[in-house]
């Protein structure tokens, strides 16, 4: 009620600002106005506040959404439309068990490029955005995969009326290709999740418990090259998130991706982020296969097989390297 604007005291800047915005009680307002009338300093503050408001209003700024952003959004919405069409056919394609997985991955993949753009080059992000946007326009269904995954259980899907009416609008042929695209993109999602974020956990555990026949659970010196290439090929399928994985600060989720246990990495003794890693069995021993860039030859990679026993050893000790070999990247 009573103002702080007694004889000698100046009001707070925020009070003067409030005055301008008509936020003060009538009596407080009157007091302040009296003060301002006789105080050049405070009148100055008031004028400055007005000026700030004016400046904010005249700041040059964006008037148009940039074309690349508009295209990206169009592509994302087109993907939504296709997904609608596909799921309305009985949604057998987006499997239940995969969607929660991408949902967790999607956050990561969608933010990664942002980090890249800030910390490394400005070129990187727009380019990758661009290509992913165009790809989705062309293959008609591969906008950022995670976004779609959320859609599978999104609130918009719940209305049966909408679903049927929408599906009727899509010609058969288009539905067919949409379905194909969705199959492809589900495949893509699995690959993607194999390389980035929390998804790795799931896939990796899968493979180490030999759910996937093709993964290198049995490591041998003879077949190591094949395993390495297979591992890298899987990784290559998703360039953008991988860039993010390597060059951006680790988030809790991402910190574990592609990262063999610390004792294994200590055993290797190289600080770089592994290109890929997997768990398997080497000569009857539980082991990790870790692939790193070759120290000197950019065209090659170095593969390390390190015993996994260090994980449980106490006192903690670096894992023992059982086998090292370099391979050409292909």
């Amino acid at each position: 009620m009573t103002s702080t604007t007694g004889a000698g005291e100046h009001p707070e800047v925020s009070e003067i600002s409030d005055l301008t915005d008509g936020l003060l009680s009538p009596s407080h307002t009157a007091d302040l106005q009296d003060h301002l009338a006789g105080c050049a300093l405070c009148e100055d503050v008031r004028a400055s506040l007005d000026e700030i408001r004016g400046l904010l209003g005249t700041l040059p700024g964006p008037t148009r959404m940039p074309a690349d952003v508009a295209e990206r959004i169009d592509a994302a919405l087109a993907a939504e439309a296709l997904l609608d069409a596909v799921t309305s056919e009985g949604e057998p394609l987006v499997s239940r068990e995969t969607s929660p997985l991408h949902a967790s991955v999607s956050r990561e993949t969608s933010t990664d490029p942002v980090l890249v753009s800030r910390e490394t080059s400005t070129a990187a992000a727009p380019v990758s955005r661009e290509t992913s946007g165009q790809a989705s326009a062309r293959t008609a269904a591969s906008a950022p995969p995670g976004r779609r995954a959320r859609g599978a259980s999104g609130p918009g899907r719940q209305t049966p009326g909408r679903r049927t009416s929408r599906s009727r609008r899509w010609p058969r042929v288009l539905l067919g290709s949409a379905a194909a695209a969705a199959v492809l993109s589900v495949g893509g999602l699995l690959i993607q999740s194999g390389g980035s974020g929390g998804g790795v956990q799931a896939t990796r555990q899968d493979s180490s418990s030999s759910a996937h026949g093709e993964s290198p659970s049995g490591l041998t010196a003879a077949t190591l090259g094949t395993d390495v290439h297979k591992l890298l090929a899987t990784k290559k399928a998703q360039q953008t998130p991988e860039i993010g994985t390597r060059s951006s600060p680790a988030t809790p989720l991402r910190g574990e991706a592609d990262t063999a246990p610390s004792c294994v990495r200590q055993g290797i003794g190289r600080p770089e982020q592994p290109l890929a890693s997997t768990r398997g069995v080497y000569e009857g021993k539980d082991a990790f296969l870790v692939v790193l860039p070759h120290p000197s030859d950019p065209k090659s990679v170095s593969a390390y097989v390190v015993t996994a026993s260090c994980i449980s050893s106490s006192p903690p000790a670096p894992g023992k390297v059982l086998l090292t070999h370099s391979y050409r990247r292909d």
């Binding site: 007005d50 209003g57 959404m65």
Partner: protein, 231 residues
């Protein structure tokens, strides 16, 4: 809504949204074309980062696309879109706060905010002042910043801003007021001579700056600015 036949009259946003819910494949795209420029401006200014803003607008429009059936029409479609967008921005701003970037990147992003072709004609001091103001703006709490972006920068009315932000009008006013008060010490030192704040410039000019767009503008829902989108 029977829009197939009446080509002459442009369908309203609400018409288009209803068509979209019924399954019209083009309706939502038209809504996006109408409003994306303004949504973009709000997002870019609230987040201060091009990629973050693009992600936020994309997230917002995709969720609007999905949630269209739940739109009940208590507010204008454009207000609803703004609300979703601003919320997406605030979510991102809060998350981004934890991973603040380097000063170098900061400068880079400022350049993105001051579109070169528009600031080219301005005197250098003015440009510096703008830059300073943008830097200062980034130090504000998100909610104050969002209010200032909407009211002072984009020229939305306090009432519409209140609706967008889902808070009472008094809250919008006080966020703006506090925001400006916080900006003050951060920008005044840039003015030519510290003491000579030229009271005449302020005068009794309670109103917004000379070239703030008319506050009622965005209320006109349709195609104030977005109608002329590309394509």
């Amino acid at each position: 809504m029977s829009t197939d036949s009446d080509e002459a009259s442009t369908p309203t946003d609400a018409d288009l949204l209803a068509l979209h819910v019924k399954g019209d494949p083009d309706a939502f795209g038209e809504i996006v074309r109408r409003h994306r420029d303004r949504l973009w401006a709000v997002a870019l200014r609230t987040l201060g980062d091009r990629e973050e803003a693009a992600d936020a607008v994309q997230d917002a429009l995709v969720s609007a696309y999905r949630a269209a059936h739940s739109f009940r029409g208590q507010s204008a479609v454009t207000t609803w879109l703004h609300r979703i967008t601003v919320n997406a921005c605030l979510d991102r701003a809060r998350k981004a706060a934890s991973r603040r970037t380097s000063p170098v990147a900061e400068t880079e992003r400022l350049e993105q905010l001051l579109e070169p072709e528009e600031s080219a004609a301005l005197p250098a001091e003015r440009e510096d002042l703008h830059r300073e103001l943008l830097v200062a703006l980034r130090t504000l709490p998100e909610e104050q910043r969002a209010a200032l972006v909407l009211v002072d920068m984009q020229g939305y009315s306090v009432a519409e801003t209140a609706e967008i932000l889902g808070v009472p009008t008094g809250t919008v006013k006080s966020r703006c007021s506090r925001g400006r008060a916080r900006l003050l010490p951060l920008v005044t030192h840039l003015r030519g001579d510290g003491g000579g704040n030229n009271p005449a410039a302020g005068g009794r000019n309670r109103a917004q700056g000379p070239s703030v767009p008319p506050t009622a503008g965005p209320k006109g829902t349709d195609a104030v600015k977005g109608g002329g989108g590309r394509a």
